[in-house]
Amino acid sequence: MDTLLGLLKQNARLSNAQLAAMLSMTEDEVAAKIEEYEKAGIIKGYSVILDDEKADKDLVTAFIELKVTPQPEFGFDEIARTVMMYDEVESVALMSGAYDLAVTVSGTNLKEIALFVAQRLSTIDGVLSTATHFVLKRYKEKGIFIGAEAADERGFVSP
């Protein structure tokens, strides 16, 4: 991956000036490059990684495995598009292996999510079965440690 994208992936809030310094570019060049990536649809958006425990204690997240029957013409795309239109759904991905679609759903309590799965997801045409796994604790998200970071064992000053 391009170094600029790698840096933004780690921290999208680095300023153009900071990026320019690290990449030996001018700020204008960095801005232009980022715009190019945005226009090409390589950069899809910027988001924040939260420790939900601290940001919103009531938030519940679940991973749902969907087994589905692919549609004759559209394969899995049609069902995936239907699933992703719900606001409750945070992510949808087509998987290899034992099930077909991996769906992340969040809500304010277990019941709400369970009902969403029962009433909205499992009723979609072509969905054969669902399995819901609730997230109990997250340790790492998109390369960022959630919760306490490991202490630096190196001390403050050394030769």
């Binding site: 840096l7 921290n11 000036a17 900071q18 690290m22 403050f156 000053v157 050394s158 030769p159």
Partner: protein, 390 residues
């Protein structure tokens, strides 16, 4: 009652404790301090190296090795030095595996210095050289390097300090604390001065894998220099293996064979598990070394740019993982600057004068930290500078 003062020799009492250590004590007592002060990588040792160490323990390979180190490791070192720097050393009798690069430096000084001999030490530099020279009755003679020379050693400065008593030149590049480097074209005039002399170069090249935008040259690879050079190297910085305590020295047989006796009586052999692990480091970790260096390079450029922006002029260091900004514009001494910075803004950096008098007016900032950490620390330093202007 025992009079310890009478027991302990003056030469030992005379050795000053490291200025870095003193600063560490100040920083440790304060709460919420973030540091840009350490001289060791923030990366863990590559996994393949750690795995070899675990396997070595599992197999119970826990006995002494040959005094000069495992022959397989010396062969790997010999191959590495040839592959990377076109150096040729016989693994049988021209390489000793030591406890860190610092033991190798100590051995070299002990093996070569008679009381009264002079040792040229290029400053600012790592803190161990002078005390080790004093301990054997040698006389440390400093050669101060300057920012206008990019902290490089010049042939002129070298010539000025050479006397008939000069025995050793300690050449520490890429340099801690300045980050300065000596490229091939910088080394050539130095070699020219030394070729017809009996001066031995102790070339401390522990940061040789951390150069940015060019390949490191060892002075031993220049014409006529191999016979008068001890090449000091190790695993701490290149492979993020500081705690494994493993380094080495390569040099001509007449000196290495003498050093081996000292090593044999003081150390016996370097840690066996570390030695096996180091073979993996040399043979399998080129990519990891490159990856770490690429990451350091990003941080280096960020630091240089940030210090220049906040008005602390910072020369462009091309090696190691330190930047060495000038703090002269603040009107503070290095000690004052660092003490106030850590007390008022909770950032620990090391005063430049801890690395020799010529470091006065500068501070050593390590970028062996995550970008996130560096940005936070730089923000605080900028606030400090802004506040000083008021």
């Amino acid at each position: 009652m025992i009079d310890y003062d009478k027991i302990i020799p003056d030469v030992v009492k005379g050795i000053k404790p490291s200025g870095i250590r003193r600063f560490f004590d100040i920083a440790s007592e304060l709460e919420g301090v973030i540091s840009l002060g350490v001289g060791e990588p923030d990366f863990p040792t590559p996994w393949s190296v750690r795995k070899t160490a675990i396997k070595t323990l599992e197999k119970g390979k826990t006995v002494y090795t040959a005094n000069s180190g495992l022959i397989e490791l010396r062969q790997a070192i010999s191959g590495y030095l040839n592959r990377r720097f076109k150096l040729e050393y016989n693994p049988k009798n021209e390489i000793i595996v030591t406890v860190g690069g610092s033991e190798a430096i100590d051995l070299g000084i002990r093996a070569l210095i008679r009381p009264g001999d002079e040792v040229l030490i290029v400053e600012p530099c790592f803190v161990c050289y002078s005390p080790l020279v004093e301990l054997v009755g040698g006389i440390p003679v400093t050669i101060e390097t300057k920012e206008e020379d990019n902290f490089k050693l010049t042939a002129k400065a070298l010539k000025e300090k050479i006397t008939e008593k000069t025995k050793i030149l300690i050449l520490p590049y890429p340099n801690n604390p300045t980050g300065a480097v000596m490229k091939k074209e910088d080394l050539e005039p130095i070699a020219e001065v030394l070729r017809d002399t009996n001066i031995i170069v102790i070339s401390d090249e522990i940061y040789c894998e951390l150069t940015y935008g060019f390949e490191h040259t060892s002075i031993a690879s220049l014409d006529g220099m191999r016979e008068r050079t001890l090449h000091i190297n190790g695993f701490s910085k290149s492979y993020a293996m500081t705690g494994w305590r493993l380094g080495y020295v390569a040099g001509p047989v007449p000196i290495i064979s003498q050093m081996l006796k000292l090593h044999q009586y003081a150390i016996m052999c370097s840690p066996t598990v570390s030695q096996y692990a180091a073979i993996t480091a040399l043979n399998e970790c080129d990519d990891e070394v490159k990856k770490m260096a690429a990451e350091y390079d990003l941080r280096r450029k960020l630091c240089v740019d940030s210090f220049n922006r906040m008005g602390l002029s910072c020369f462009n260091p091309e090696g190691a993982f330190y930047v060495f900004p000038s703090i002269k514009s603040t009107g503070l001494s290095s000690e004052e600057f660092c003490t106030r910075l850590v007390n008022e803004y909770k950032v620990a950096v090391v005063p430049g004068n801890a690395f020799g008098k010529s470091g006065e007016g500068y501070v050593r900032v390590s970028y062996a930290y995550s970008i996130k950490h560096i940005i936070e620390a730089l923000k605080r330093i900028e606030m400090f500078i802004e506040n000083l202007k008021k």
